[in-house]
């Protein structure tokens, strides 16, 4: 394979890469000019379809296909760009906006032309303060130079782009949560169908795309679908921005063809595991995607292969490396706490499930765990989410996956932790024990139960689950 040439990040190290003159001098806004003046919208959709570009926001849905779901007879379309980027360990959208806002705007312009959207809202998480400032300026500059506004390049196409700032809620990254938040309501995801393409923002056909997805579009128009498909692995084409953080020497974001492995990322780009240690596990694509053990580090990180070791998907391709000293109990505790904090509370299995998972992990970590907790957690995790069909959105699947993967891959370690970390204050007292058994506590000298023995009650580990 020919040497890989970065395209999304090609301007990042150029001085003043965020300014319009620099972007134009490096060939910027050529693709949008080509699309708007030489192509018709359906042709642009077709090229993007042919490139088999898949969404970079998490779900990996084919972008061209999504655009073609818009009703043919629509009179108004909205574009919502998802810049909420809150998946733990992910920061590539931030760099894309801060370092090269015009590449992003060019992507928005072409995508809006293709989908006939005259208004684009860029939903930016509040914490991206610089990105917001840079975008505001870039939009104003682009407008002044005729890349946005009325009758762009004399094509008769009009477009306005507005930034809409979030307020610190992870769930507003879910596409319908984003739309609700944009409409000025609480960020509660909607029940689908109808999908946004049919009825989205302000009840009009709407496209929701990630920042990186749209940043790919100008390059596809300029270089063609075949070029795009020459990069990556089957069904996972194109360049991808991988973020690497955690226990590595260099926490970075690098652009690589889809399908590199965790080992390559650690060794070739992140300077190895820190402190000369060995890696134990890694989060493959944002915390929602589950967990890879070190033995699975040669699995290609693309949309398909990553499912084989049991991960949920590629997610945001943000890898967090954990070294050999990391306790999986700490990892699970952190993950469960995150989802309990971020669940929007609409669906009972998610609201209560994430809360219970967090409480159990808190208790286990503090020395009050029992082995049967792990069965209960596994059971809970298998029954929450859109896959078992019990919730509205995928947050619950993301909350369940770390639990499922950690229990499948590191159960022994967690069991050992429970057995060796028993704090006296969590021990069941003889009185509680007697009450649980329905016995009179008078004269009871029941010994302290050891954590490997089940407490009385139904045996959850053998109960049939909706999705094993």
């Amino acid at each position: 394979m020919a040497a890989f040439e970065p395209v999304l990040s090609r301007n990042w190290n150029v001085p003043d890469s965020h300014t319009l003159p620099v972007y134009e001098s490096r060939g910027g806004y050529k693709a949008s000019r080509k699309a708007l003046t030489e192509m018709d919208p359906d042709k642009v959709v077709q090229v993007v379809k042919d490139s088999e570009l898949r969404g970079r926001g998490g779900a990996g849905f084919p972008t061209g296909l999504k655009w073609s779901f818009l009703p043919k007879d629509r009179t108004q379309t909205f574009m919502c760009v998802n810049g909420d980027e809150s998946e733990p360990a992910t920061f590539n959208n931030r760099l894309l906006i801060e370092r090269d806002p015009h590449q992003f705007i060019e992507g928005i312009l072409i995508a809006c032309f293709a989908t006939k959207a005259a208004t684009a809202y860029v939903y930016l998480r509040f914490e991206y303060i610089h990105a917001f400032r840079i975008m505001e300026r870039a939009i104003a500059d682009a407008r002044e130079k005729g890349h946005l506004g009325k009758d762009i390049y004399g094509s008769g196409f009009d477009l306005e782009v507005y930034c809409h700032r979030g307020a610190g809620a992870y769930i507003c990254g879910e596409e319908t949560g984003l739309i609700e938040s944009l409409e000025g309501k609480r960020g509660w995801p909607r029940i689908k169908p109808p999908f946004p393409a049919i009825e989205g923002a302000f009840r009009k056909p709407t496209v929701v795309n990630n920042v990186e997805t749209l940043a790919c579009v100008p390059h596809i128009i300029e270089r063609g679908a075949d070029w795009f498909k020459s990069i990556g692995t089957p069904k996972s084409y194109g360049p991808k921005l991988y973020c690497i953080s955690g226990h590595v020497n260099k926490q970075v974001c690098v652009e690589l063809p889809l399908g590199v492995t965790t080992n390559q990322l650690i060794e070739e780009h992140a300077g190895g595991v820190w402190k000369g240690r060995k890696a134990k596990a890694a989060v493959p694509g944002g915390i929602s995607m589950g967990l890879l053990s070190a033995a699975e580090f040669d699995v290609p990180l693309d949309f398909e292969e990553i499912r084989k070791p049991g991960c949920l998907g590629l997610g945001t391709a943000a890898v967090t490396v954990m070294d050999e000293t990391t306790s999986m109990v700490d990892y699970l505790y952190n993950s469960c706490r995150f989802f309990a904090h971020e669940s929007c509370g609409q669906c009972t299995p998610c609201r209560e499930g994430t809360g219970w998972l967090y409480k159990m992990m808190k208790r286990i970590k503090a020395g009050g765990g029992r082995l049967e907790d792990l069965d209960i957690m596994d059971n809970l995790a298998k029954n929450m989410g859109i896959m078992p069909g019990t919730t509205i959105c995928g947050l619950a699947d993301g909350a369940a996956w770390p639990v499922r993967n950690a229990l499948a891959k590191f159960r022994g370690e967690i069991e050992d932790y429970i057995k060796t970390h028993q704090a006296p204050r969590y021990q069941v007292t003889p009185l509680q024990q007697a009450i649980a058994h329905g016995q009179s506590p008078v004269g009871s000298d029941t010994p302290m139960p050891d954590p490997t023995r089940r407490l009385p009650g139904p045996d959850l580990s053998t109960r049939a689950t909706a999705h094993a």
Partner: protein, 183 residues
């Protein structure tokens, strides 16, 4: 009592320039309710909180019920109803930061400032909060202040430096790279 209530009603929270700023967002959206979040941000930036009275006035401008504004506002744990400090700083506790010492830095900063997460120092200078991933994991363990400054990777020593810098108050502009930590 009734007279008092009328008196407070006649002195609005939101000055004309603030109202103008909010109204300027209306043409961007097909309906006025969509301006709720921008309006809350404008008010929050000005008062460093969103007082109940201001919420009612936002509702009037946007021609929606005050309860609708409150419903939206209270969903995001972002808009306090009593003023926060001159600078609000978030220390990340999510996975990459936790692994590299974020929780310890949060505890260290709390101790140093004599507050718990979510509180403001008695001199009103700094509000310290934990955050889930701030999207600056390349600088983990990291912190962000609400004027846009990035701090990281933090150590106990650089956390102390950060606090000293934050005590000087907010700044108007800052680089996209950390002001303390790795440049």
């Amino acid at each position: 009592m009734a007279a008092d209530a009328t008196a407070t009603n006649s002195t609005p929270y939101l000055s004309e320039p603030i109202r103008e700023k909010i109204r300027a967002f209306i043409p961007r959206y097909p309906n006025k309710r969509a301006v709720t979040l921008p309006a809350l941000h404008i008010v929050h930036e000005h008062f460093r909180c969103v007082p109940f009275g201001a919420m009612k006035e936002i509702a009037e401008i946007l021609e929606i019920a005050p309860a609708e504004v409150h419903d939206t506002m209270s969903f995001y744990g972002f808009f306090p109803q009593a003023p926060i400090g001159d600078v609000r700083v978030w220390i990340c506790r999510s996975i990459s930061c936790m692994l590299t010492g974020g929780e310890e830095m949060l505890a260290h900063a709390c101790k140093k400032l004599g507050v718990t997460s979510g509180q403001t120092t008695p001199d009103g200078k700094i509000t310290l909060e934990f955050a889930e991933c701030l999207g600056i994991c390349d600088f983990a363990p990291a912190a962000l202040s609400d004027d846009g400054r990035i701090f990281g990777p933090l150590t106990p020593a650089t956390t102390d430096d950060m606090i000293e810098v934050l005590k000087q108050g907010p700044v108007a502009d800052s680089p996209i790279t950390p002001v303390i930590g790795r440049q």
